[in-house]
Structures are given as C-alpha cells and as structure tokens.
C-alpha cells in the first residue's frame, strides 16, 4: 500500500466513525462536536482529492459557519448536558434495517457499474472557476450565480423576519 492509499483509508474511517458517533450520541452538544470533526474529515478528503478550493470553502462555510450557528442555537434552546430522548427499540431496529438495506442496494448498483477513471489530469484553477462562474455564454454559470445571490438575500431577510421579537401590544398604541 502506498502512502496515498493509507491516508485515504484513515480519512474514510475517521469521517464515517465521527458521523456515526454524531447521529448516535445521547448528548446534543457532543453530537455537534462530532459533526464538526466529520466535516473537517470531509475537508481533508477534498485535500486528498487535490481540489483545495472546495476544501477551503468547506472549512470556511461548514466548519466556521454552520457548526458555530448550530452550537449557538443549542445554547439558546436547551441545557447542553441534558440527555436527549431515545427513540424506541422498534423504531431503532427498523431504521437500522432499512438503512442497511438501502446501503446494500445502492452500493450494489455502484459496484456493478464499474466506473473507469479517465487518465487525464484534472485541471482546475481558481482563475478558471471564477471566469466560468461569471460567464454568460454556453457553459457560463452567471444566471445560477445571480439566483443564488437573490436566494441568500431572501434567506437573510427571512431569518430576521422569523426570529424578530414582536413588540408588546400596548407599545404599539
């Protein structure tokens, strides 16, 4: 086994192990921290795949943004040391069985498909990504880019409208 293979299998085991802990642990704050480690592992996988730009975006947006947001909301809504309610045994077994069955079915399809990697190197640069992102031609992504910017604005306004405290009635006159 080469070093690259060893790194890949260690990263995969890390990602899957922390993800399993994140969905099974009983305390919600620990669950968030395991999710953080899993997301860092996925960023490491992107580094292993040599797409460093996506790895950087993953760390900035997921690890720096979403996980911090989730931890804040945990602190705002409940005691972090409290154990969560467990699902019933029947529900647990049924979910494990359905998940295993779905995994077997999907991976069977993937395994028999026998994807052949092209031998060409993957040439991306941040320059190319930026140019194609703002291009209006045939392969350009200018329209989705604008739509996403409007979506982010709408989400921001929506968050403020949903979470704002309504004023007490007597002050409104």
């Amino acid at each position: 086994m080469t070093a690259s293979q060893v790194i890949f299998y260690i990263l995969s085991a890390f990602i899957l192990g922390t993800a399993v802990l994140s969905v099974t642990t009983a305390k919600i704050f620990r669950s968030a921290i395991w999710l953080l480690f899993s997301l860092i592992g996925v960023a490491g996988l992107y580094f292993w795949l040599e797409v460093e730009f996506i790895a950087a975006v993953q760390i900035v947006v997921y690890v720096g943004g979403i996980v911090v947001l989730i931890i804040f909301s945990i602190f705002l809504t409940q005691q972090s040391g409290k154990e969560m309610l467990k699902a019933s045994m029947l529900r647990n077994i049924a979910s494990i069985l359905s998940v295993l069955f779905g995994f077997a079915l999907t991976y069977n399809l993937i395994y028999n498909n026998n994807f052949q990697a092209k031998d060409k190197p993957f040439d991306w640069t941040v320059n190319k990504i930026g140019t194609q992102m703002l291009e209006t031609g045939e392969n350009g992504y200018a329209l989705p880019f604008e739509v996403v910017s409007i979506l982010l604005l709408a989400a921001m306004v929506g968050c403020i409208v949903i979470a704002i405290k309504s004023k007490p009635e007597e002050k409104n006159g």
């Binding site: 969905v23 919600i28 997301l39 997921y62």
Partner: protein, 104 residues
Amino acid sequence: MADIPISHILFVSTALFFIGMYGLFTRRNMITVLMSIEIILNSVNINFVVFNKYLYPDRLDGIFFTIFIITIAAAEAAVAIAIIINLYRSHRSIDVESAEEMKY
C-alpha cells in the same frame, strides 16, 4: 491517486448518506435532524467532486454544483435555526412531536 478505485470513494459517500438517513429516522430533536441533513448534503458533495475529477476531468460542472450546494446549505441552516428558535419561544421545546399542530 489513481491507485484507489472510484468505487471505494463512492463507498464512503454512500455510507455517509445512509448514516445521515439513520439520524433522520431516529432523532427527535430538531437541531439533530438539521445536523443529519448536513451530513447528507456533504455526502452528495463528495459524489459531485469525485465524478467531476475522475470521469470528466476537462469540465468543471461538478465543482460548480458543489459550491452552489454549500451556499444553499448555509442559507437553509440559517433559516431552519431561525424557525427552531422561534418555535422554542412559543412551545419551550424543540422536539418534533411538539410542533405537530403546524400540520393542520
């Protein structure tokens, strides 16, 4: 790099997807449901990058889809947390069962 077959990387993303599904099935707390959704979105992103890198190395579409999915996931998490905090103010609980009057 080419000494790992594609199916091994797809094994990781498929397993991650179904771990997220398991969390979605068993968790009752809304924040943990949101965390399971993030895991599922991550597995999809890995798939996009791997297919782009190995099967279509001269194009960049998988990279763009990954970037857009990450953006939309951030927006979705922010809106979901605003809704959860608002629900906590009115119900004092973020269990999915306590929000069942939203169905009617």
